[in-house]
């Protein structure tokens, strides 16, 4: 029969296979909104509980001082310049107000010097974008395991679609999901009062999406590579659990690395989560430091390129029945 009519260029055919697989994943995702809901619930809890309810600034001020009752202060008029008659009285309440303002100024300065912004909520909210991206990307490997167990992968493997397209479709799917979920988190953060820096613009948003894409592509490739031969979702689940929390807590997602012990700072310096989080903060709540931002992007690009290449090359060899 006439197979010639489908004898299109290999590239076009691959693109179509890639698109078919990607849209399959997206369709599945959209048909099950509960998955999206479950995914964003944890970051939201973190934002509300730790970012909003807990007053991190208080850690840096002394509540005993701010609550101190200051008596009225009487100042003889001749001491003032120019001198006045009689005695000038400064009420204690005013005095304590001044002290309190001074101290809280100090504490917000302290927060700013440590976190780079004056409120912890803004700091944490951006960290939550990293978190949701980590969750979504590390789970990408699970879907290969399921495809294998449910037989779907078997069919795909007997068709001419290149293995590269299979991996790329999973990677893209993770990235697109991450971007979508990050947008929700960002909108929620705006609603809850995130304070953008003056350098935030529409271009920043584009850059944010690129950063998320790079990070998600790299991280999902790593977990896809782990899943190439796996037939047990329990194993994959264990790998995911083993990695996600340490990845989060050895980075600047929750707290600045300057608060960490020396050895932990060393880990944080190579942890890709630190780079994506910093890039996101530069683009949203910090006054952009282009030099640092460039370093972040170089790191993220290298991370994505190297890991996705490894994932693809391994898939040629190991993505079999």
């Amino acid at each position: 029969m006439n197979i010639e009519i489908y004898d299109r260029s290999v590239f076009k055919a691959m693109l179509q296979g890639f698109w078919g697989l990607t849209s399959r994943e997206l369709k599945k995702w959209m048909k099950e909104p509960i998955i999206l809901f479950m995914a964003i619930i944890q970051p939201i809890m973190w934002m509300v509980l730790f970012g909003k309810s807990m007053n991190i600034g208080a850690i840096f001020s002394s509540s005993t001082i701010t609550n101190m009752i200051i008596p009225d202060i009487k100042i003889p008029g001749y001491l003032l310049n120019p001198p006045v008659d009689g005695v000038v009285t400064i009420p204690g309440s005013v005095a304590s107000e001044i002290v309190r303002n001074m101290l809280s100024g100090i504490s917000s300065k302290a927060v700013e010097s440590v976190f780079g912004v004056s409120d912890y909520f803004s700091y944490l909210a951006v960290g939550m974008i990293s978190m949701i991206t980590i969750f979504t990307s590390t789970f990408s490997g699970m879907s290969i395991v399921w495809d294998r167990r449910l037989g779907f992968l078997y069919k795909v493997l007997s068709t001419p679609v290149p293995r590269t397209a299979i991996i790329l479709s999973k990677m893209f799917n993770a990235a697109i999901r991450s971007i979508f979920q990050s947008t929700i988190i960002l909108l929620l953060a705006i609603f809850l009062g995130i304070k953008f820096s003056p350098t935030f613009s529409l271009m920043s948003l584009v850059a944010i999406y690129i950063a998320i894409f790079l990070f998600s592509a790299g991280l999902s490739s790593l977990f896809l590579a782990f899943a190439l031969r796996s037939t047990r979702h329990e194993t994959q689940m264990a790998i995911v659990n083993l990695f996600t929390m340490p990845l989060m807590f050895t980075s600047n997602a929750f707290f600045p690395t300057t608060l960490m012990p020396e050895w932990l700072q060393g880990i944080a310096r190579v942890n890709p989560v630190s780079y994506i989080t910093d890039a996101l903060r530069q683009l949203t709540i910090y006054q952009i430091n282009y030099e640092i931002l460039l370093t972040d992007f170089i790191y993220l690009t290298a991370f994505a390129t190297i890991l996705s290449t490894i994932g693809i090359v391994l898939s040629w060899k190991y993505l079999t029945k």
Binding site: G20, K155, L157, S158, T159
Partner: protein, 334 residues
Amino acid sequence: MVEYAIVAENLTKMFNGNIVAVDNVSFKVNEGEIFGLLGPNGAGKTTTINMLTTVLKPTKGRASILGYDVVKNASMVRRLIGVVPQEYTADEDLTGFENLILCGDLYGIPRDVSKKLAIELLELMELTKFKDKKVETYSGGMRRRLELACGLINRPRVLFLDEPTLGLDVQTRSAIWNYIKKLKEEYNITILMTTHYMEEADSLCDRIAIIDHGKIVVSGTPEELKNSVGSDVMEIMIREKEDVTEIIENITYVKEVHRRDDGSYIVKLEDGETVAPMIIENLRRNGYHVIKLSISKPTLDEVFLTYTGRALRDSEEGREAILSQRITLKKARR
């Protein structure tokens, strides 16, 4: 030069270095032929198909489809073949139509073409009414027909059907037989199918290879195979409980006697109609009473029994195993 549709030469597959699933299998299939691999559970049928469809690499030996080597020219082979696997492979969360379009995408078929083909195939498989329902809601027979449609979306020249009627009821099974016959007649597709239903192999296949423990035991047309066994099979039941194997064995023309657990006997013999009265007479003289007797001409079951030394295991067993596996998977997913 006549190009064979499928050539397998000393195809061998070992798992984990010691389990030999397929052992030096060689066969050739002509274009337009329906070739059946017949064997019990675990015989190596699926593994053979996996190698021919490029999903598994052979440990030893080689194979080609329409002249293209399955290892060196895998991507060309994949374009020429259609595969309907033993398990259900459709995505349950998508509709039947979406699944077909996805299959088309995997072959790089332009969407406008694949949409037309999908509608045509859904019509052929009588699934048009359900095309926009999630596959999750399909019955086993509907899913099997959808798999068949998926395997045909690229208009394959060689089609692999792994147990195409496993676990289906009689009507659905015969409907699928009709589709298969139609495919061969209308499109001259070469088909390699596996089955452990004897009557299926008998009625559909031009040629059959019986495979057991990874080896091809015998091959030929169903007629050839039946003739090679060459004898009738008689089933006898006697009233008494004693074992009379020896008495029957001593009668001339009787080739072989096999006593079943339920006390009945399977007797292989030449010219059953003439010998039957002799057997009855002989048993009566020894004080035994025949209460039931039937004679059957050789079937593939007998062929199988003859060449492998045992009956084809109960096929329902395999079916249940697969069904329960599916249920487990579904549960695990929740």
